[in-house]
Symmetry: C2
Subunit: 289 residues, 2 copies
């Protein structure tokens, strides 16, 4: 009788939402927004990657490759939905600490590692879904994190900036089929940098270095950072994101501003981003993608 | 009478070939190959950029922007052909020390500086040609510098390397219309880096840094550097080139090898490149572009 009641109670309470947490504070922001929306987040930390602050929530720690332990925890918590958030260093297959649950799926996992980032994530999602766990996007559980259309701060892009944004958007679209290219820096019609495996922060640091060494001779603020998802990208899996670190990098690179695809890029800690952009004289704007 | 003889003598002797010398030893190698082919090189050095070794040849030193002095020297030497060789840092228009010859052409020059690298060079070539000086390619005066088809050293690309080379060639072709993209590094189907304003050496250094910090987790040699000209690029103006520094960079980044578009990329100091590639266990190969 009490078992039946407990079952009924459980049915009324929504099952927790698993949050697979990459590096940084963003997984915590997504978890907090999901909790505000009435979800119960259950956080999965990766040893050596995830911030210890996740321990404020119900959580489990895993090493990369402990797939059996991961699915055990999801089952124990009756979890049917997972969201993957935050930067994760792509491991080499041979670096993984495979447990028995991983060994059972080793052929699937090994196949993934021959692919680009997209292929890897799509394959991971398929493995989750094969276990009855639906992958949802951070924007589905916390839509308020999506970049809106138009300026987020006082400054707006100039007509020249708009031309650079349009050029960069075309460039990123052309790169889509190569499973890369979610960021670029363009200044006055010239492509200064394209993001590949190094990530946005390193690309911005490069602009600063080129200015410092005189390889780039630019006077005053110059260039726009553009972030947009790959065309046809499954936004549940790897939506581009910016945060205060991106704004700090753009300011240090002496850019004119940051433009993100409206509704298709996540902004972590939006208020902090806006304050930092304003303080640095940068525009921060969503463009129609 | 003697003036007539002198004129006749001058007609029999081909006019000197101007070599506008960027940084490094490559302008000297081109000059020496041109001299072997019976040409008389007249070297133009850019203060702060060009190696002082050009003084072994008849030469003139200029500051960037001394366009009047440049055309004066070309006229004095009866020069009708110029070749532009070696890396040059793109200056800001306002950094140029414009002389009177430049001021006369200031509108043309200023217009150039709003363009990408291609636009700049095409415009420069047009200015030369407007003065009756034909721009020729380094490969026209020294065809033996062009990368041949197939392997230049003992090692050859594997089937997997060939797949990476094909992918990178497609990528560079897609980037062509953005006036950039003469280099990329691809490993096992994944684009690790794309070259923009930073140049090949900095791109290779980035691969090494990503390996050192663990952002790229690769075991042993991995990845191929691919160099190819932009589709539709005027090869007289900005043909991609590799040299011993490129090979050293690829070795330090622990790549598997270097692939260049056969007949469309210049190789400086070929024997030294081949020895260094062999010593580092790299392949160095021309592919059908």
């Amino acid at each position: 009788m009490s078992a039946v009641l407990a079952g009924a109670e459980r049915a009324c309470q929504p099952a927790p939402l698993a949050v697979l947490c990459g590096a940084g504070a963003f997984p915590l922001e997504v978890s907090s927004k999901a909790a505000e929306a009435g979800r119960t987040p259950f956080l999965i930390g990766i040893v050596g990657t995830t911030d210890a602050a996740i321990e404020a929530y119900p959580h489990v720690w895993l090493r990369m490759g402990e797939v059996g332990k991961l699915f055990g925890a999801l089952k124990e918590q009756s979890i049917r939905e997972i969201v993957m958030v935050g930067a994760m260093t792509r491991p080499e297959f041979t670096d993984l600490r495979l447990d028995w649950g991983a060994v059972k799926r080793a052929a699937d996992l090994a196949r993934l590692f021959r692919k680009g980032d997209d292929g890897l994530l799509v394959g991971l999602a398929a493995i989750f879904e094969g276990e009855g766990v639906r992958v949802v996007g951070a924007h589905e559980v916390a839509p308020q994190l999506l970049a809106p259309m138009g300026p987020l701060v006082g400054r707006s892009p100039s007509a020249d900036d708009e031309a650079d944004i349009a050029l960069a958007a075309e460039l990123l679209a052309a790169l889509s089929r190569f499973d890369m290219g979610q960021g670029a820096v363009v200044a006055a019609g010239r492509v200064l940098a394209v993001e590949a495996a190094e990530g946005t922060d390193a690309m911005l640091a490069r602009i600063g270095e080129m200015r410092a060494t005189g390889r780039l001779r630019l006077k005053g603020p110059a260039g726009v950072l553009i972030k947009a998802p790959k065309a046809g990208q499954d936004l549940r899996l790897d939506m581009p994101a910016i945060g205060p670190q991106t704004v700090a990098g753009a300011a240090k690179a002496q850019l004119r501003g940051i433009a993100v695809a409206a509704g298709r890029v996540l902004i972590a800690e939006r208020a902090r981003c806006a304050r930092a952009a304003d303080a640095a004289g940068l525009f921060l704007s969503g463009f129609e993608a």
